[in-house]
Amino acid sequence: MSIARMPPVKDADRSIVEAIRGGDPAAFRQLYELHFRRIHNFSMRRLGDPTEAEDVCQEVFEAVYSCLDRFEGKSDLVVWIYGITRNILNNRLRRRGGVRLMSLDDVPPEAAPLDLGPEPLAQARQVLGRVREAIERLPCEQRKILELRHGKRLNIRKIAQLTGRSEDAVKSSLYRARRTLAAQLPGKQLAL
């Protein structure tokens, strides 16, 4: 089942959302501390610019907190926040007219947190390595289309033109690639 279509609201999500709606400052801090670094670093990796990453981070949290009553529990809370983050990033990248991805190897050494031990970094590299391996195991055509869509951020029509396939065939390849990745990647732990 797709994580986006899971019907029940997780108890933890429901309790934290209800507590924040009830004005509980501890619940607010919990949600902020749980997601701040993730949103900031994901944005930084996408944009490669600290000031822009902070802008995105602020905009995401403003959307979350000012519109929390829009959260209906159709997806996990973290997926809802991910959707907001992606939308804001996409808008910003569209205005910028391009994408600049940073790889782990491009991160300057001075950006490393003082208290980061080898274990979290190793875990992150392991997750990223698994993502890359899973993509490399895809059939050639699916991998190529996935890279054009998510690496180059091309639209379906452009990919169809480049590959000489119909738009429906491109969409079908993307669907199959995503389904294969969902079955292999760490997100599976979240019932992807």
């Binding site: 797709s2 994580i3 986006a4 924040i20 709606r21 009830g22 004005g23 400052p25 607010f28 801090r29 701040f36 670094r37 993730r38 949103i39 670093n41 994901f42 930084m44 990796r45 600290p50 000031t51 902070e54 802008d55 981070c57 602020q58 905009e59 949290f61 403003e62 907190y65 000012s66 519109c67 829009r70 997806s75 997926v79 809802w80 991910y82 959707g83 992606r86 939308n87 782990l104 991160v107 001075e110 950006a111 490393a112 947190p113 003082l114 980061l116 992150a124 997750v127 990223l128 993502v131 899973a134 993509i135 998510h150 995503r178 990745l181 990647l185 760490p186 997100g187 979240l190 992807l192």
Partner: protein, 77 residues
């Protein structure tokens, strides 16, 4: 305090003021992002707090205070 912390950046209060932009089109686009969920990208998002990138401590504190004020205003009415 690090160089990044003392660097000149916009304060939280001078940033986007984005609430007005979160209309129906914004939320429709969020729904589309969730519907088209990309498992690999979500995995990167979930793992991003382990990336060796350190957010500015002053920004983290400033944004927390800004949001607390937002919440108080939002749910005290």
């Amino acid at each position: 305090m690090s160089d990044r912390d003392t660097r000149t950046v916009r304060p939280v209060d001078a940033r986007s003021g984005s609430q007005a932009r979160h209309g129906a089109r914004f939320w429709d686009a969020v729904e589309r992002e969730i519907e088209a969920l990309d498992a690999g990208d979500l995995a990167l998002f979930l793992a991003a707090d382990h990336l060796p990138i350190e957010p500015r401590a002053s920004f983290r504190r400033g944004l927390r205070g800004h949001l607390q004020a937002l919440c108080r205003a939002r749910w005290s009415n």
